[in-house]
Subunit: 290 residues, 2 copies
């Protein structure tokens, strides 16, 4: 695998929301895309909609050998289980990558389970939807979003470049490179903590009829409370220490504000709001590319 | 004041973001709109942009006498101070209303400060922007939003109907009626708590460079962290008990989730996420009217 271009053959393992969105984006760019997934009706759907060339539910050496690049779009534990079962069948020279939302806990396992001559380079496409499954896949989910390559010292420069190129081809707004620990700390704060907040807020009060008075603030804070529990609870546990740190930091800040309110410390509250206003300026959305 | 129609003369007291948006919406509907406000440049701006007929910085009996309806668009304490100073000058038969975000703490004061023959009917237009001032006013902020009339036993049916009509003319999606306590409890949860969360989240972590990796989740949860501290800290303190209750309820839920994570209780986390997903379904945005 010297480079990625639209002659490269891409095999998606796990044709769900993200796997399907990869297939859509890459097919549009002229790539040949195939898939291995559990449910044959997902394959039929994708072929019928024109964003998959072929697919199978059976993992065979021959089918894997077709691919120049394999993208694993699976839950973390399923990914590792898959590699234990079938990893040895992957053809020498194949470049393997993934889409997993946490890195430290799986990177060394994944790299160790690759057969000789097969390089695994981790990546995290920071994109998603409130709904799962290939039927909700949509390549525009990548526009304006971040794609993070997470190499270790075992990775070649060549693989890092290929992986970055894949992110570009998918249509991501920003392609970056981070080590696993920095990635996992960042994800704990920017993504996992926000999901914890949304879920907790939604569980806080179920007074009937409140939906009639809901404005944009509440809707925005709880959009991600519609959540794939199976996936996110696994991602939380696999990033436990970093996420616990961020949760505790947040509780500290929130409790500080709560106590200022109890003490009617208007000045203190204003100061927190001044800081939040100022910091938030930096986080405004960039212009979306196409 | 028997009814509101576009022959009615509307005087806005306080030409800021919301006062200005009222002026824009009502001018478009053919109403005559004037304003009393502190800064004469705001008046010049609004007249120049064609959404104000006239305005003044001086409160006089004659100027107030022009109005059929006066809309107070002021901070709570400024509203009450204004009434103490000038309330007695309001012409008999004028209908007064407001836009204040909390009700219990000001309703009885405001009603008591109206001269005989002047009825005050409270209302809360649940709409806003991250920026303040008449230059950011925009009547489309009301589309898809809620307008809540908050009468007391002192209000006439006629005034309630007039106030509802005003909400319709402004272009609100839903017009409702609530008593002050129900309003303030609802606001504590749906609006004030969400702002407390956004501010606290923004204060939780200021690692340089995180903005480069920010996705929609974090942006959505912190949009309202750009906040008018002067106004919101006052609204929080004036709704202190209800807001403290909701903050404590939220801390309970969040801490429950935190402890589940610490104990790797995947089942418990999945159950909270199942509840949050199910509840959130009810809160999807209605189709916006025009």
């Amino acid at each position: 695998m010297k480079q990625i271009n639209n002659k490269s053959k891409i095999l998606i393992v796990g044709l769900g929301l993200i796997g399907g969105s990869y297939a859509k984006a890459l097919t549009k760019k002229g790539y040949k895309v195939r898939a291995i997934t559990l449910d044959s009706s997902d394959i039929e759907y994708a072929i019928d909609k024109g964003f998959l060339e072929d697919g199978t539910t059976a993992v065979t050496k021959e089918y894997l050998a077709w691919a120049d690049v394999i993208v694993f779009s699976l839950y973390p534990h399923t990914f590792i289980e898959w590699l234990k079962k079938y990893g040895s069948m992957i053809k020498k020279g194949t470049l393997c990558t993934d889409v997993t939302g946490v890195k430290s806990c799986i990177l060394s396992d994944a790299q160790a389970l690759m057969p000789e001559g097969v390089e695994f380079i981790a990546a995290h496409p920071m994109a998603g939807r409130e709904r799962s499954g290939v039927r909700h896949s949509d390549e525009t989910v990548f526009h304006g979003a971040n794609y993070i390559v997470v190499p270790t010292e075992k990775n070649s420069e060549e693989a890092i470049e290929c992986c970055k190129k894949l992110g570009e081809e998918l249509g991501f707004y920003r392609i970056s490179v981070l080590d696993a620990e920095s990635h996992d700390r960042m994800i704990a704060f920017l993504s996992q903590l926000t999901h914890c907040i949304a879920v907790s807020l939604m569980c806080t009060n179920d007074t009937p009829g409140f939906e009639a008075y809901t404005g944009d603030s509440f809707r925005d804070l709880t959009r991600i409370a519609k959540i794939n529990g199976e996936m996110w609870s696994e991602l939380f546990i696999r990033n436990k220490q970093f996420l616990l740190d961020e949760m505790d930091n947040f509780i500290n800040q929130f409790t500080t504000l709560r106590n200022m309110l109890e003490n009617e410390d208007k000045e203190g509250m204003c100061e927190m709001m001044r800081i939040s206003t100022q910091r938030r300026e930096k986080f405004d959305k960039p212009k979306v590319n196409k």
